[in-house]
Symmetry: C2
Subunit: 293 residues, 2 copies
């Protein structure tokens, strides 16, 4: 039983004055302007669906520079005109791109990119999660990203949390160019970490992907190309007229505000929670991201 | 680098004969009939949506006997006629029931049930997950359910994995009767464990809930009751004519097949995976459930 509560006849009742509760969202709302970092306009991939919905993806050039450069080249050459979502597998991924065409890559694309499955830990500042990780020796946050870390082996990798965007590929040794992408729409499939290049994360509009009908074929592929969900255009925010340009910022994961937020996510204690967990999983401590006013 | 692979010019190539790969799905497909356990017809809640979709929930009377009895009484008294889905919060929950009515409970319902947030560990056979848990001292499986365990304190609880079904409630000490239920549609919010009564899990048709439009109000509530997604009928499978009755079975989580499946989920190694993780999170080892032929 938790302090502040007493057991009366098997039911819980509030005893005396409640303790001072603090919710993770309160910490985010109260965070000073100084802990928010603008996402560069050049790192925002803006996907407008033909339905009118918009999906915004923050790219991660510090983890996957070659693939992110490819993706910018694809976006800037209209490579994805005629593309669509062709795979939605429940509790796993939604995937899009040019499914059934062998469209040649535009100039500037590296068709044989290296496997950017992890990067050297050296040069990264990592704030530890503070709780154990099921998949890697350690987990934490770096530059606003949730990362898995092996200090001994010297690597850090992005992680397959909800909304993570990765590069679809065939069987190894295929790596994928970035022309076909997926995002995670369910339980974090962290077994994919270090087996696929993660290039970013969805920061707005994931419901335009995860509410789509699940595909009926194996692995959630859509059977009939006529049912692919069409993408109207894909742009980099920096190329959108300033007045219409979407802007976002994330909480500095090395800030005191984030440290408090992380602790509160790991030890919930407010009017709703009676019992705190021992901690929290990396993917259950989502880095706060918000529209920039 | 993994055995069987050599690095050639920065790309991975297969060297000599490939090792014998085994996928989790191969283990499930090859499992003998003896490891499958029928789910009792009386423990299946069958929700038919007005749209034609069907959601099937396996109830967990061994963990929440009073709430499960309530739910059966609600279903058998047509309590949910006129009910609908009134809340869908992205990466969190879809929730349904009689939202805006104070419909009196039918006979047989305990309106003040105990908080069935956990149960005594005593009497349960638990197969350990074998990997650490972020939320509890230990995790494992019992009678086909993913559970969190504290051996020292002597409790076991069901867990908020994808598809888990819980009893919506107000602030503590409210417990909820079971007339309003939710299911998890994103990252497992395991902080809810031992703060809410879990009564079962969705085993079929979760896409009838998780593809619904996200609510625009705080916490994903729908603004306009006219947009609630109507439920046509809710029945217990045992009350459905035998010829039309849905039947399911789950893999015995104490069986050798499940042990192999669990190990394979924790250490992926096949044509797709080049690098195995250290283990797997409890919720990323979903207990195999299938239609009974």
């Amino acid at each position: 039983m938790r302090a502040g509560f007493v057991v009366v006849g098997g039911l819980l009742s509030l005893a005396a004055a409640p303790p001072k509760y603090i919710k993770p969202t309160d910490i985010v709302d109260a965070a000073p302007a100084s802990v928010w970092r603008a996402i560069p306009d050049d790192d925002l991939l803006v996907i407008d669906m033909q339905s009118g919905g918009r999906v915004v993806i923050q790219l991660a050039p510090s983890f996957a520079p070659v693939h992110v450069a490819n993706i910018k080249a694809f976006a800037r050459s209209d490579h994805w005109s005629g593309a669509g979502v062709y795979r939605v597998q429940d509790n796993y991924v939604a995937q899009w791109g040019n499914a059934d065409t062998e469209k040649p890559s535009p100039k500037g694309v590296n068709d044989k990119p290296p496997a950017e499955y992890w990067r050297p830990l050296k040069g990264l500042q990592v704030t530890p999660l503070g709780f154990p990780d099921s998949y890697a020796p350690a987990a934490g946050f770096s530059g606003g990203w949730p990362v898995a870390v092996n200090a001994k082996a010297g690597w850090a990798s992005l992680t397959h949390c909800y909304g993570a965007v990765g590069v679809a590929r065939g069987l190894a040794p295929d790596v994928g160019s970035g022309s076909e992408l997926y995002t995670i729409i369910g339980t974090p499939p962290r077994q994919l970490d270090r087996n696929i290049t993660i290039v970013g994360r969805v920061i707005e509009g994931i419901e335009n992907l995860n509410t789509l009908q699940r595909g009926t074929e194996a692995l959630g592929f859509y059977k009939d190309p006529k049912t692919y969900v069409p993408i109207a255009q894909v742009r980099i925010a920096a190329d959108i007229p300033v007045a219409e340009r979407p802007r976002f910022e994330y909480m500095d994961t090395s800030s005191p505000s984030f440290a408090r937020y992380k602790a509160a996510r790991g030890h919930r204690r407010d009017e709703f929670y009676e019992t705190s967990a021992l901690g929290a999983d990396l993917c259950n401590v989502p880095v706060p991201v918000r529209k920039k006013s």
